[in-house]
Amino acid sequence: MPWLTALIVLPLVGVVALAVWRGPSDAQARAVALVVALADLVVALGMVGAFDPQSSGYQLVEQVDWVASLGLSYLVGVDGFSVWLVVLTAFMTPIAILSTWGITSRVRLFMALTLLLETCILGSFLALDLLLFFVFFEALLVPMFLMIGGWGSGRRVYAAVKFFLFTMAGSAFLLIGIVYLWFQTVEQFSRGSFDIRVIEQLSLGTGTQRWLFVGFFTAFAVKVPLFPLHTWLPDAHTEAPTAGSIVLAALLLKAGPYGMLRFNLDLFPEASVTFADAIGVLAVIGIVYGAVVAMMQSDVKRLVAYSSVSHMGFVVLGIFMLTPESSSGAVLQMVNHGLSTGLLFFAIGMLYERTHTRDMGEMGGLATITPWIAATFLIASLSSIGLPGLNNFVGEFLVILGSFDANRWLGGVAVAGVVLAAIYMLWAYQKTFHGPEPEERRGLLDIVPHEVAAVVPVLAVMLVLGVYPKVALDRINPSTEGIVNWVSSVAEGQEGLPGGLRAAIQDDYVPPPGSLVAAGPSDEVSP
């Protein structure tokens, strides 16, 4: 079964259905979107079933010529980097749809945009053809832009345009890099190709590699967003409607670090090693800066937005510390951040629908009025802080562990991010839910059934990943091992390993036994 194509196409079917169906009621439009999104989730789970956890190469690869004369093909595949991101996307989209009860205008268009976004995001996680990746990566700006600008709050237009232009400016450099690589395949193999399996065999000079690395990295760093390219994020997150914030934070940001892992490390290993420390420093600055600024916020949504800057810093740090632990941690952390921040935005959305404010100064004392919302927010906060037993702990722990291994200073400072996270998240909880019970808010409704339907699955997954991360790490580790070996082997100028890694492209490649780290945080032994 063509799992990946089914994943990508299914939401589009929903878009078409919504487009041709004249005049469905709001509830019907929402139902169509929800059903399609849930069906896509089922397909995603089926895909995980078909995924072979032993292999480090690309799996379930599908390839169809698209523009043969350019060497452009519809080429999709999945590996340890993308498998959970795909599931996360399919999982969070229904959650996002469940958060749209507050949206009352142009519901049909909103639902179509949500599904369109899902297609684009899934496409960028699954594409193995550089130009195809770029198509999805760039196309997702449009629905996101319309969503923020059309249904956001306050300065929504400013936020939407800023988001669009920042990201587009970043990807401009990516496009140049892609076209240049294509040109190199014409020169070196006398046949143009965008297939990353072909491109990674190019021999590029050191200088060239560095330029290309910078071009690719800029595009992804804007998306992450890495300090100092993060300024679009607080605006976009804050002004977006809840569903937009969830998709943005949980899914869209992941395209950045994913691109770094998939393309920067793989295609430009030497340059990756060269720039690793500098990027690590930026990441750590982002961790601390994001956390400090988050502490200063009075708008709870803005606070979570800055916490994303901080958390995504961990992900980038993990990727560029180039140890197996930190890379696996980074991949896992992408999923974790998606879950916990997604849930936080969902909880804030519930509050906003009831209180019509995001200012923590105007809230307070809600814990007794809406206890279940308070509980949701608290658990999401605790997860975000990295409480053991919840999902974030495992990811952050692995990242810090690996970073310590690679660079004691960076690892050490990064820990500060965890401490600061505890401060601002607990403050936020305190300001929002504790204090004297406000008279005027007495009649507020607590959590309602469709919200329960969204919250409970997320909490369950958070708990599972916190207690038994092996299920996720088993599928992540082979790929991260592979990439770290590949990069370090190039860095040390060894000849032996790349060949083995090349073989890993084949679907049937089975890695030699014992070469992979056993999964699970408890098995990780620091040297």
């Binding site: 010529d65 698209w66 523009v67 043969a68 004369s69 350019l70 130009l131 770029f134 198509v135 999805f136 760039e138 196309a139 700006l141 449009v142 832009f145 319309l146 600008g149 059309g150 929504r156 237009v157 939407a160 345009v161 669009f164 232009l165 587009m168 400016a169 401009a172 450099f173 496009l175 140049i176 076209v179 240049y180 294509w182 040109f183 014409v186 143009g192």
Partner: protein, 480 residues
């Protein structure tokens, strides 16, 4: 050369001119007939010309006919088909536009047909004199078309277009004279031979290149020869603007490719920097100046200037690569811009009172159809996937990269980001602002159906560019 008379290769032009004369005379002689009859007669002429062009696809006769004045190659066929498609849509737009504004005139149809004949002839002329002739046919028809409306802006635009156009024609003609002086011939092939054999005067040859480049740059509206574009695009009846913006650009670029890649092929190293510079300035100036516009027709005019720069970017790659990429860009540009002006026509209403950007406020609520279509066109102009504009940009960028013009690619990519801003601004107005008090956009069915065709093309070619790339690649070989 033995002057045999082969008429098949110019059958498309003959059919167009024939149809034009029939409609012109018919309109005078047979009065009181519904103007739809003349519209269909004109469309039949266009369809006939298209059929005649398609029949030339597998031409195996002489490379040039009529004493070497007209080239017969697939390049010509493809360009003709693009121009004819544009003309068909232009006729449909124009019919509706003039009926709506109560300015319906029978001359409109033959003028469009004459202009189209000029455009197609421009693209296939293998002799500089014929090229000049074609240029004048298309220009004169367009001057009149621009002034067809009674609005003051229309007349002003026509006057400006005429004065500056005449000026540029003089440059072009002077260039032809210089080429003749350098090589003793105006036939493209003979010019190329003379220049390659170093038998002609190099100084005169280079002067000819420069002067002809100026003439072409006027027609394709490349900076710094773009001054007429905003005024004319704004002043002309929108239906004419749509036809002119797409058609003239395609035809002029086709002729430019032929003249520079055939006649001046031996001087490639000399004209490449000129193309490079024109491309860079056009892209930057067009994108930046468009930001300051408050009228959508002017904004699209400046955008067309920057798009001329992108086509030139592709042409920095000499030979087939450059031609194939530029051809694709022209297809993409033609379908996009004619669609965009179509929506502008719908929104502007009778007498074109509503062409300012503020007329687009809240359009999505007033007319979801028009807003959605304009969004598609604007995204394509901005080069956002999955529209055809994106594929077109990639194709010119990769051609330029092959030619080593990576700095031009950098300029192009960065300017695209700047350009995205003003396209987005319109989308913001349409989707993110509350509708103001205003009349509904034109609800007529005919133009809506017509606009749906380019919109579909933008998306289909964006997703499956392979549908045409094969044809364009095989058409990129200029035979001489």
């Amino acid at each position: 050369m033995n002057p045999t008379v082969e008429l098949a290769p110019i059958a498309p032009e003959l059919i167009l001119v024939g149809a034009a004369i029939v409609v012109l005379l018919g309109g005078v002689i047979v009065r009181g007939v519904d103007r739809l009859v003349w519209l269909f007669a004109s469309l039949a002429g266009v369809a006939g010309a298209a059929t005649a062009s398609v029949l030339l696809w597998d031409w195996d006769g002489e490379l040039t006919v009529l004493a070497g004045s007209v080239a017969v190659d697939r390049f010509g066929v493809v360009v003709r088909l693009i121009v004819l498609g544009v003309a068909a849509i232009g006729l449909l737009y124009g019919h509706h536009y003039l009926e709506r504004s109560g300015e319906a005139r029978i001359e409109f149809y033959p003028l469009v047909l004459f202009a189209t004949a000029g455009m197609t002839l421009f693209a296939v002329s293998a002799d500089l004199i014929v090229a000049f002739l074609a240029l004048e046919i298309l220009s004169l028809s367009l001057y009149v078309l621009t002034g067809l409306s009674r609005r003051l802006g229309s007349v002003e635009g026509a006057m400006k277009y005429f004065l500056l156009g005449a000026f540029s024609s003089a440059f072009f003609l002077f260039g032809v004279a210089m080429a003749y002086g350098a090589t003793g011939s105006t036939s493209l092939a003979a010019v190329a031979d003379a220049l390659a054999g170093q038998t002609g005067s190099m100084a005169l040859g280079l002067t000819a290149v420069g002067l002809l480049a100026v003439g072409f740059a006027f027609k394709v509206s490349a900076v710094p020869f773009h001054m007429w574009t905003p005024d004319v695009y704004q002043g002309a009846p929108t239906a004419v603007t749509a036809f002119m913006a797409a058609g003239t650009k395609v035809a002029a670029f086709a002729a430019l490719m032929r003249v520079f890649n055939v006649a001046f092929q031996p001087l490639t190293w000399d004209w490449q920097p000129i193309v490079w510079a024109l491309a860079a300035i056009s892209i930057v100036a067009g994108s930046v100046l468009a930001i300051a516009q408050t009228d959508i027709k002017r904004m699209l005019a400046y955008s067309s200037i920057s798009h001329a720069g992108f086509v030139l970017t592709g042409l920095t790659a000499p030979g087939e690569t450059g031609i194939a990429s530029a051809l694709f860009y022209l297809v993409a540009y033609a379908v996009t811009v004619i669609g965009a002006f179509g929506v502008v026509m719908l929104v502007s209403g009778r007498g074109e009172q509503r062409t300012s950007l503020s007329s687009y406020t809240g359009l999505a609520a007033r007319s979801p159809f028009a807003a959605a279509l304009l969004t598609v066109f604007l995204l394509s102009l901005a080069g956002i996937p999955p529209t055809v504009g994106f594929v077109a940009k990639v194709s010119v960028f990769s051609a330029a990269m092959e030619a080593g013009a990576w700095s031009l690619v950098l300029i192009g990519v960065l300017a695209s980001v700047v350009a995205a801003f003003f396209y987005l601004r319109v989308i913001v107005l349409m989707y993110m602002r509350e509708p103001e008090e205003g009349t509904e956009p034109d609800p007529s069915l005919l133009p809506r159906l017509t606009i749906a065709v380019p919109a579909l093309a933008v998306l289909v070619l964006g997703l499956f560019p392979g549908l045409v790339i094969g044809f364009l690649d095989s058409a990129a070989v200029l035979r001489w």
